[in-house]
């Protein structure tokens, strides 16, 4: 266990203490204690920059399940470190922000910070694990913590709805990803991502290449809210705003991007990889931007904007794959796409984080996020307004902010499609820059909407739930830091170039780096009159025009019928699957034990008879049978006769006694066969169970006339005969087909030497097969408690006079 492992697990280790701190120290906001964790981790990870920027990696392994190839390998390279810094850096700011956002007397902060730390640790685990199974585990943990955080205000119906939606979609993707991981492991023979990258050729040749790729991509697309899985993200906005800023904009939704970047070396030589990612990414970019414009909730706008920006980065990562097909020239022009992706990822975290926090402030101070009610806040909230302007304009891609730089690089990367003469990119690929342009226009429009509708225009303070005023300083510091970063990174982007971007890009192109190509990252404002500059100018011109004529074309949003929307389909499928499940269940869950017994017996007999036939085991030989003594004949007759007689009993008591006769008869058989242990156990069990039967039947009503005259039921008779025949066949078969020598000999020889016992049966029970016994008593205990709770529950329901339960049972 190295310090690195400890660092990754630190948030998880700290989490259990939070509820106690929350209870014990009511006067101090719990957030202050939590804040220590991300700050420490940020400082710790910051020191790694020196290592990764020199092109080195750090790798530490702790054995977990070595026999399965699952080890906790912490692996820090440029890409992982970039994410780790984002997670801890933004995490620290968000925790600081939440201290002022969440009221310590009203909210259950204990829960909140436990979930948040859970998420932080899980996210660090995702980006710093080399073993894919470990990464998957952390991946699902992020889904779970996200679920808990979205549902934090669980009294609200929308919160629960949003939480469930995000859970269903992201866990669906996570499970697909697990499938992909298993396929990759079966090809490569290792769960390590580095081994997969090293054996990339092996994977590319495999017939399961496409399956593995699509499954992995499903995981990435669901997590990063790509079309058509993006529908969970807007509903996730029910979470408290610090959570939205952290999970649903800066970090968790970028896990999908991380996965795509991480798996790029494995898949990116395939044309399908490029096409799927670019298509999905570009369409998501457009769809998110297009839908953001019609939102009236500020957080809704930001949610769709996040979807759109994630699509942008996704498509850039896809385009970056083209760099592999462009060797020979030192200055690889397609690498610009990947550089832009990484750069925009950082920029997005800064401007979107600040915007989310800005919206949180507005919501907190005015009581609403509805842009139809807001307006004119500029004068009362000048600092918040400044933050909003910086963030929005950076998002819109205007100079001198960092968003402009990465947006230019994005446009440049899309125009490069024209010079790609492979994968048919130079024909249908023309659509990519066109869609990018349209999407950017919409991005420009909603960016304007965010700050104009909130801060400018007519002030309608009387309609607001609260009288607005500027936020407390603690709430302004985190977004202000991010806004300052937006500006600073705009002016001196090259502080990132060699420290963060280059190492990250290098880990996406291990083969190019190995072949001696150098990743050159040099970001600057003025490129001369290039196509992307004209595109930006066009976006600004068209965007401004459309912004002012917005009422003229808003009508197009009403053209889409509700039933056809993805949300409609999601809701519909939930309702439908619920109904179908009920219908299916009602068909076989009749409530009668006899029906269940029939299912069980028919299935058991069917399976056994079938497998006996399948393995050709019906060749019975009766040569080795022992001689049947007269005693055994008599006893056999007694057992069979009493079993038959039970069928004709008109009341319960004689039936139980006859059943007891059968049981004691079997016990006597054990005596004949010299098995004292079995005989003893059988006798006592028989005694106890007869007593139990008597007790149960004592409470039951007399057998009614109707039941007593019950007619012969052919179906039931057939099932019983089937079971009898199966068991008989089974015993004949085991006698006649001894392919393996009996294990009894082993027990006989070793019972004293290995276990110091002389009673073989008992030694087998407690020692040789102690596991069986252990689980048996567990099952017994569970059954006992089950019966106890079932009966007690029923009786308490009755005494309460609560007819609801029975009413439901009738249904």
């Amino acid at each position: 266990m190295s310090v690195l492992h400890f660092a990754i697990l630190l948030p998880l280790l700290a989490a259990p203490f939070i509820p106690f701190l929350f209870r014990a120290l009511k006067r101090i906001h719990t957030g202050w204690f939590v804040l220590v964790v991300p700050v420490l981790l940020f400082v710790y990870f910051f020191r790694f920059i020196g290592i990764t920027s020199a092109g080195d990696v750090v790798s530490e392994t702790v054995e977990w399940m070595p026999s399965l190839g699952i080890n906790f390998t912490a692996y820090v390279d440029g890409l992982g470190l970039l994410f780790a810094l984002l997670i801890t850096g933004i995490g620290a700011l968000v925790v600081l922000y939440s201290i002022y956002y969440l009221n310590k007397d009203k909210e259950s902060l204990g829960h909140f910070y436990v979930y948040l730390l859970l998420f932080m640790g899980a996210m660090l685990g995702v980006v710093l694990s080399d073993n894919m199974v470990v990464m998957y585990m952390f991946w699902e943990l992020t889904s779970i913590s996200s679920f808990l955080l979205i549902g934090y205000w669980y009294e609200k119906e929308r919160s629960r709805y949003g939480a469930r939606k995000s859970m269903l979609i992201t866990v669906f993707g996570g499970l697909s990803m697990l499938g992909g991981i298993v396929i990759l492991e079966s090809i490569v023979g290792s769960f390590s991502i580095r081994d997969m990258v090293a054996n990339q050729a092996l994977i590319a040749e495999s017939p399961f290449f496409v399956a593995a790729m699509i499954l992995i991509l499903l995981g990435a697309f669901t997590k990063s809210a790509q079309f058509p899985f993006h529908i969970w993200l807007p509903d996730a906005m029910e979470a408290p705003t610090p959570v939205s800023a952290y999970l649903h904009s800066a970090t968790m939704v970028k896990a999908g991007l991380y996965l795509v970047a991480r798996m790029s070396p494995v898949f990116q030589e395939s044309s399908l990889w490029l096409w799927i990612i670019v298509t999905v990414g570009t369409f998501t970019l457009f769809w998110g931007a297009f839908n953001a414009v019609k939102q009236t909730d500020l957080k809704g706008i930001l949610a769709f904007s996040t979807v759109s920006q994630l699509g942008l980065i996704m498509s850039l990562l896809g385009l970056g794959a083209a760099a592999l097909h462009y060797d020979g020239i030192d200055d690889n022009i397609f690498m610009v796409a990947t550089i832009a992706a990484i750069f925009h990822l950082i920029n997005h975290a800064t401007f979107k984080g600040s915007l989310f926090m800005m919206v949180g402030i507005v919501d907190h101070e005015t009581g609403t996020r509805d842009i139809r009610k807001l307006g004119g806040l500029m004068t009362v909230m000048p600092i918040t307004f400044t933050i909003a302007v910086i963030g929005s304009l950076s998002m819109a891609g205007l100079p001198p902010f960092n968003g402009f730089l990465s947006k230019e690089m994005f446009l440049k990367a899309t125009t490069k499609v024209f010079s790609m003469d492979f994968f048919a990119l130079d024909t249908i690929g023309i659509l990519i820059p066109v869609v990018a342009f349209i999407a950017s226009v919409f991005t420009f429009i909603y960016s304007l909407i965010i700050f104009t509708r909130t801060f400018m225009g007519k002030a309608k303070f009387d309609e607001l739930p609260k009288q607005p005023h500027e936020a407390p300083i603690g709430m302004l510091i985190p977004p202000a830091i991010l806004a300052i970063l937006v500006v600073v990174l705009g002016f001196i982007p090259n502080v990132l170039s060699n420290s963060l971007i280059k190492p990250a890009v290098e880990s996406i192109y291990p083969t190019l780096v190995a072949s001696g190509q150098e990743v050159k990252v040099d970001i600057y404002f003025w490129h001369g009159p290039t196509p992307e500059l004209f595109m930006t100018l066009g976006i600004i011109a068209l965007g401004t025009l459309m912004f002012f004529m917005i009422n003229k074309w808003m009508g197009i949003y009403n053209r889409i019928p509700n039933r056809l929307t993805l949300n409609g389909m999601y809701d519909g499928s939930l309702v439908w699957s619920n109904k179908a499940a009920y219908r299916f269940k009602d068909n076989y869950m009749t409530g009668f034990i006899r029906s269940y017994l029939i299912y069980i017996f028919v299935f058991m007999s069917g399976m056994l008879l079938f497998s006996m036939w399948w393995y050709d085991m019906y060749n019975f030989s009766f040569g080795e049978m022992a001689v049947i003594t007269p005693y055994e004949y008599v006893l056999g007759a007694v057992v069979v006769l009493s079993a038959f007689a039970i069928l004709f009993m008109r009341s319960r008591l004689p039936a139980i006694i006859l059943l007891g006769v059968v049981g004691y008869g079997v016990a006597l058989f054990f005596v004949f066969f010299e098995a004292p242990d079995l005989a003893l156990t059988q006798l006592v069990i028989e005694t106890v169970s007869v007593a139990l039967f008597l007790l149960v039947f004592y409470h039951m009503p007399e057998i009614s006339k109707k039941e007593a005259r019950m007619r012969f039921k052919v179906g039931n008779a057939l099932v019983s005969i089937l079971v009898g025949v199966t068991v008989m066949m089974l015993s004949f078969m085991t006698l006649s087909n001894k392919s393996l020598s009996s294990i009894s000999e082993y027990y006989k020889e070793n019972v004293y030497d290995l276990a110091a016992g002389k009673n073989m049966v008992n030694v087998v029970l407690v020692d040789f097969r102690g596991f069986d016994t252990l689980f048996e008593i567990v099952v017994l205990a569970v059954a006992g408690f089950g019966i106890y709770t079932m009966i007690k529950f029923r009786t308490t329901q009755r005494t309460k006079g609560d007819g609801e339960h029975e009413h439901e049972a009738e249904k």
Binding site: V684, G770, G784
Partner: protein
């Protein structure tokens, strides 16, 4: 219905007198079964069942209230305790870096009994014994008490 049942309950002197004596015989026999398990027929499972049978006999001869005052055990706790012992015994070997459920034994010179082998299997078996009694009695008591 209820009154009819109550009137049916006879004060069975013969059964009650016999049950008290037989109860002890069965209990002693069941404990003997439990301890002798490793060398001759018996063991925790049979022993536990036998003890439960003795308790059932008392239950039938008297009633559940009498049983509860004479032997005030909480059988659900007994089940849990038995499971706990069994799992603890199974786990102890892990501490000595042996696989789960490895038993240990050695010969000891005990006062009165002379040289005897002590085996951790007996602790495991004790767990089984307690679980069997606990579960059987829990089931019988709950069903018996529910009206």
């Amino acid at each position: 219905m209820n009154t009819k049942r109550k009137s049916k309950r006879v004060n069975d002197v013969i059964l009650q007198t016999a049950a008290v004596i037989i109860f002890f015989i069965i209990i002693i026999f069941s404990i003997n079964l439990f301890f002798s398990g490793h060398y001759s027929p018996g063991g925790g499972f049979v022993g536990g069942l036998m003890t439960a049978a003795a308790l059932v006999l008392l239950l039938l001869a008297f009633d559940s209230k009498t049983l509860a005052t004479v032997l005030p055990f909480d059988y659900r706790k007994m089940t849990a305790f038995g499971l706990f012992i069994a799992i603890l015994t199974a786990l102890h070997s892990v501490l000595w870096d042996r696989p789960f459920l490895t038993h240990a034994y050695d010969k000891f010179d005990l006062p009165l009994l002379g040289e005897e082998t002590l085996h951790t299997a007996i602790a495991f078996d004790l767990g089984v014994y307690l679980v069997v009694i606990g579960v059987t009695m829990t089931i019988i008591q709950t069903i018996g008490e529910s009206e």
